[in-house]
Symmetry: C2
């Protein structure tokens, strides 16, 4: 616990300041993908990253309804059964937290301290949002759509139910779902039961969990999470909104780990390095791998396309001939030409960082 | 990453040393119980604590067998189907990591940095171990039983498959299970699929995951995890083994949280504080609650007994009349007279710490 009970402003760590107990407390309760779970096309339940701003709320299904209100011709109140009776689709979606990589930035913005692991891919089942909004009847004045969850807390002095807004165009994109199942089972409590938004291609903050109300607005949404929290900025200016997921590749760390350092040990010889890559901005075009800490880059082979919103597997055969330490890296580029930076692109809230992963390994002489 | 690729010795943080990136990396991949999940009698999948020493291994079920070897009359090799054909029992068990609370110790032993959250309760389904060992036929020379998993790594310079030993008496206790289901579904990969040991009452290190071999020994088991890692010691002496879970109570934090500090905000008025308590040493006898940081203690009411190996609910009605900050604490005592300490009982590996939880809250005047 920091000396102040309540946070009043976002803070940047001093240059030599290690991780605080506040940050550790967040790391202990929010969970990342163990990187070896990159082996799965679909992340098994319990290994998908999870970020909860406040508490996981208890939602009583007996009284829960989803309200659709605001600038619509007909306000709606839907039960889960109503939603399940609507057209049903399942989409494989890679979600990533906008704060992924934050704890690797120098200086470090003080918040949930993700390194590389705030990602996961699930099969989300639900009903598309656009037809539901069409049935409610958007008024011509409609500008934004807000999504409010049951999770309640205080953040930089602002007490709130977690809420995010999307433009009408983004909210009515055909891929946007109201999801009630994850990997074929009802949503677990921690992933938003009974209903959450899933906005494919967007950083996870857009996919509001424990959804209770959708409100159509005749003005831009001005809630905390859009106007303050999820912004790209260098100082105290308003900055730009965080939106779609930037390209990123992650390597499934090869060999076996040291318990404490997580460095990898592997023998000389051929190692097929594999991993996943994704971008919410455009399909993945290429993945490159470096086995010498970024000095030289090699082209990886892309695996099958598993759909626009899912990560794509890749592989690269590495002949590890020289014993000793090295660093493995990988880097994704998407079809729009966005590429992961090798040097950090710092911003003061540590948002949307897609700095390349670095995996230290120790190559040892294979026994004969 | 620390400067050394491989850890060579356990380390204690300097008095003013904050959390390292190595510790953070462990916190990001191992996951704790979000404390609001104390509301559930049985922890939903994905919220149970999880500690993995090395990597979650990929176990091929087509070729997996459990071997029973060593000082037995008949060595055995069992498929999962063989194990499922055996007598089936389901037991509700609270498991806690022996390192729980480590990051609250001063000075802080450097390892997985748990605060209070390394616990969970599941319904484990499997077959009792004792009859299986009886069928194998323990030789009179049998002393210990070792359990070896498929997870492989290096720890303080010792390369190993994770393995733990139990005495014959402890291994053949009737509650010890070979578990293949958790909460009614096949074991998730991260919890030990396809088969794990569940040793109720013991800290989690005894419940070996991804089990591949059970070996009956005619000598004491001398593996790293018993003789080096899980020891209670002050310095470089051998110390005492970590065994059964010491009593602990945890409070489901009331009110709502501040995002960054996790401090709680609640209104003046009556709050029914609830939580869970457990001990692997003896049944829980009492739980006490303090609403003033430990100055005064009040008796909580215990809920129904859900079985010897499961945590027990408790509650205490608190009339919060004075606005301002305070600290909530709770403390369990078991029937053997073991009680949680209010001051830390330090040991150099940060094992089996059951220091009372402290939950900072800010009481505010309720709106009228």
């Amino acid at each position: 616990m920091s000396e102040q009970l309540l946070e009043t402003a976002a803070r940047i760590a001093e240059p030599d300041e290690a991780v605080s107990l506040d940050e550790l407390r967040l790391a202990a309760r929010n969970s990342g993908l163990p990187l070896e779970a990159l082996r799965y096309d679909v992340t098994p339940l319990g290994m998908h990253y999870l970020l909860v701003h406040y508490d996981i709320p208890h939602v009583d299904l007996a009284t829960w309804t989803l309200r659709v209100s605001g600038a619509v011709e007909r306000e709606l109140a839907l039960s889960l059964a109503d939603l399940r009776d609507r057209p049903r689709v399942t989409t494989r979606v890679t979600l990533e937290c906008a704060g992924n990589g934050r704890a690797r930035l120098l200086p470090r913005p003080v918040s949930q301290p993700w390194l590389d692991e705030a990602v996961g891919t699930a099969e989300w089942t639900g009903t598309p949002l656009a037809p539901l909004l069409a049935e409610a009847g958007l008024l011509p004045s409609a500008v934004d759509v807000s999504f409010t969850g049951h999770d309640h807390g205080i953040e930089r002095g602002v007490e709130q139910d977690y809420a995010r807004g999307l433009s009408v165009a983004d909210a009515t994109a055909p891929e946007v779902l109201l999801a009630y199942e994850m990997n074929g089972v009802p949503l677990p409590p921690q992933h938003g039961a009974p209903l959450r938004l899933v906005a494919p291609g967007w950083y996870g903050m857009a996919s509001v969990k424990w959804l209770r109300e959708i409100s159509v607005l005749d003005r831009p949404f001005d809630g905390f999470q859009n106007t303050v929290a999820y912004r790209l900025k260098q100082g105290d200016e308003d900055g730009e909104p965080v939106t779609r997921i930037r390209p990123r590749a992650l390597l499934q760390p090869p060999g076996f780990p040291d318990f404490m350092t997580r460095a990898r040990v592997l023998d000389t010889g051929r190692h097929v390095l594999t991993g996943r890559a994704w971008s919410g901005m455009a399909p993945v075009a290429r993945v490159q791998v470096s086995t010498d800490g970024g000095a030289e880059w090699h082209e990886a082979s892309l695996g099958a396309d598993e759909g626009r919103w899912a990560w794509r597997s890749w592989s690269f055969a590495w002949d590890a001939t020289v014993p000793g330490p090295t660093v493995l890296c990988c880097r994704a580029t998407d079809e729009a030409g966005n590429v992961q930076p090798v040097d950090q692109a710092w911003n003061r809230q540590g948002m949307a960082s897609n700095l390349v992963q670095r995996v230290p390994v120790l190559v040892r002489e294979a026994a004969h």
